[in-house]
Amino acid sequence: MSQPKTMYEKVWDRHVVVPETAETPGVMYVDLHLVHEVTSPQAFSEIAARGLKVRRPDRTFATLDHSTPTLPAGPDGTLPYVTEQARKQVETLEANCARHGIELAGWGSDQRGVVHVMGPELGLTQPGMTVVCGDSHTATHGAFGALAFGIGTSEVGHVLATQCLLQRRAKAMRVTVDGRLRPGVSGKDVALAVIAAIGFGGGTGYVIEYAGEAVRALDMEGRMTLCNMSIEAGARAGMIAPDQTTVDWLRGRRHVPADYEAAAADWLSLASDPGAVFDKEVVLDGAAIRPMATWGTTPDAGAPVGAPVPQPRSASDQKAIDYMGFTAGEATTGHKVDVVFIGSCTNGRLPDLRAAADVLRGRKIQPGVRMLVVPGSEAVRRDAEAEGLDKVFTEAGAEWRIPGCSMCIAMNGDFVAPGQLAVSTSNRNFEGRQGKGARTILASPATAAASAVAGVLTDPRAYLEAPIHA
């Protein structure tokens, strides 16, 4: 009888090309390498300088998302890039993909999207795979039971040249969320509650497996939101065991295996064996989770909407509270909100937009609030428009943009102005993340939309319980 294994070990074992020793890390095979314009140029130059080729262009897939404008081209067809350097970065990736025969979901492609939205949509991401990208939110793909994590640019070069990475096995943590989530509580709220429980950095050195009734009950998009934010607890990867929800979601997507039923049977065998041992276990009660929002400048500074800002435990906490313009002991629901951002690889998928639209339907956003809705991909944009969600947003007073990372990272010209307070569905509330001097509250799409309507941070459940039908 062999030792019970965790899902992480099973996926790891399948990809060992050369095992690790005390002196050398293991050589791990990469099934899918996703590439975007920001973290790849120096990797392509490095392999070019060494006269190397891309070993497996067929296992490499690229998109344009970070530096790309979310406003359409002008009448002369010119895209409104924020700088010439941004344009050059995009053109560099286009040229690198053309030179190496890498498929690029570029301008004009109906598949383009934020890398972690696009990969699963196309069925590129599959259970049991190893997926890497020069991007820390690669953990998103772990929602499918893939081992997916972010790498640096040197490693992007390693994967381009060899399709492998030097890796040591991480420790395994299981986060179990028991019970049922209450209405109005989403995957984002679970993610913020989990990070608050583990702490920013509490997952460093671990791969997290999310389990429990509340996790099983999430749809694939909610699972992606949860895995997406694993890095905000310091964990490189988060994984959820493939089940019928996973199999049903992927069926029929462009890149899935031809013999789908055989593949699906294999995927269902990936779940951690009963009795598998984790290095650390964390348990949360799902029924106790409320709509969450952050009060500080790290993603673990989350608390239920309306809860008082805690007393600072350190100078860093105090600095964060000061930066946000809050006071310990007060609720953050009294501060005027300037900007609301709905989008990103955390919450830029169709159910996220639906959740925001359910709050906004028949309502107007508060005058003085700027609200940007940026679909995570062209596919999300198409589906949302087919349902008329774009109309719900624009009639409420929001801007409906073309897909990209946008205000999540604020490097394409979409940003929050100095001192402004934003409620954002993205994943990082670091100082200046959404623009120099920007103050960010992280929350779910429903909470962000409710906050746009009220003009202050607001629990969405009041709106959801009293929908207005126009």
Binding site: V17, T24, V38, Q89, E155, C164, F200, G201, R428
Partner: protein
């Protein structure tokens, strides 16, 4: 290929704040570059400069001589956040060669080591001791695996064995990986069904 790293003796610069994330080390709006050179000018940009681009006189980073304070003593969970390798590139170009903290983010650690920038994790007592003696030079001896300060007892530290060897001997990680390509080829051929990882 990174510069080899054997022994470094320098004064330290303390930035005691917890969770100094990669957006602080180099803000995202500078990531549209396609090169890895010259990012030191943008290291800690928003800590060093006002919105109008004038230097903040109160910022310690504007007051030190980066050639004399090459060791950063940073608060816990240093370099958390994104995978951008621009973070170690910027720190190196600014003048730092090493960071000492009680906790350092995973991806940053792996990126830093590939660029000859040494991330060192110590416990809180050691960190406090170093922070209490900013005027004294500290020696980081990678070969011996220890940190020395004046007459204080040497403090051992660990760096992943392969990364350490790469730094000491200038071994090229990509070159080493390429030497394993025959195994990669047989893995691709036999895949999960029959491939047995061999000890290389």
């Amino acid at each position: 290929m990174p510069e080899a790293f054997k022994v470094l003796t320098s004064k330290t610069l303390t930035l005691s704040q917890a969770n100094i994330d990669t957006d602080q080390i180099i803000p995202a709006r500078f990531l549209t570059t396609t090169s890895r050179e010259g990012l030191g000018a943008q290291a800690f940009y928003d800590w060093r400069y006002e919105a109008d681009g004038s230097p903040k006189p109160e910022s310690v980073l504007n007051r030190i001589d980066p050639t004399e304070q090459r060791i950063l003593l940073a608060g816990p969970n240093f370099a958390c956040g994104s995978s951008r390798e621009h973070a170690p590139w910027a720190l190196l170009d600014y003048g730092f060669r090493a960071v000492i903290s009680t906790e350092i983010a995973d991806i940053f650690t792996s990126n830093a080591l590939k660029n000859g920038f040494l991330p060192i994790v110590v416990d809180q007592t050691v960190w406090d001791d170093l922070a209490a003696h900013p005027e004294q030079s500290v020696t980081i001896d990678l070969e011996a695996g220890e940190i020395r300060r004046g007459n204080a007892p040497a403090v051992p530290f660990k760096v992943e064995a392969f990364a350490r060897q790469c730094l000491l001997d200038g071994v090229d990680a990509l070159g080493w990986l390429q030497s394993k390509l025959p195994y990669v080829a047989s893995y691709e051929r036999l895949r999960q069904d029959t491939y047995q990882p061999e000890t290389a």
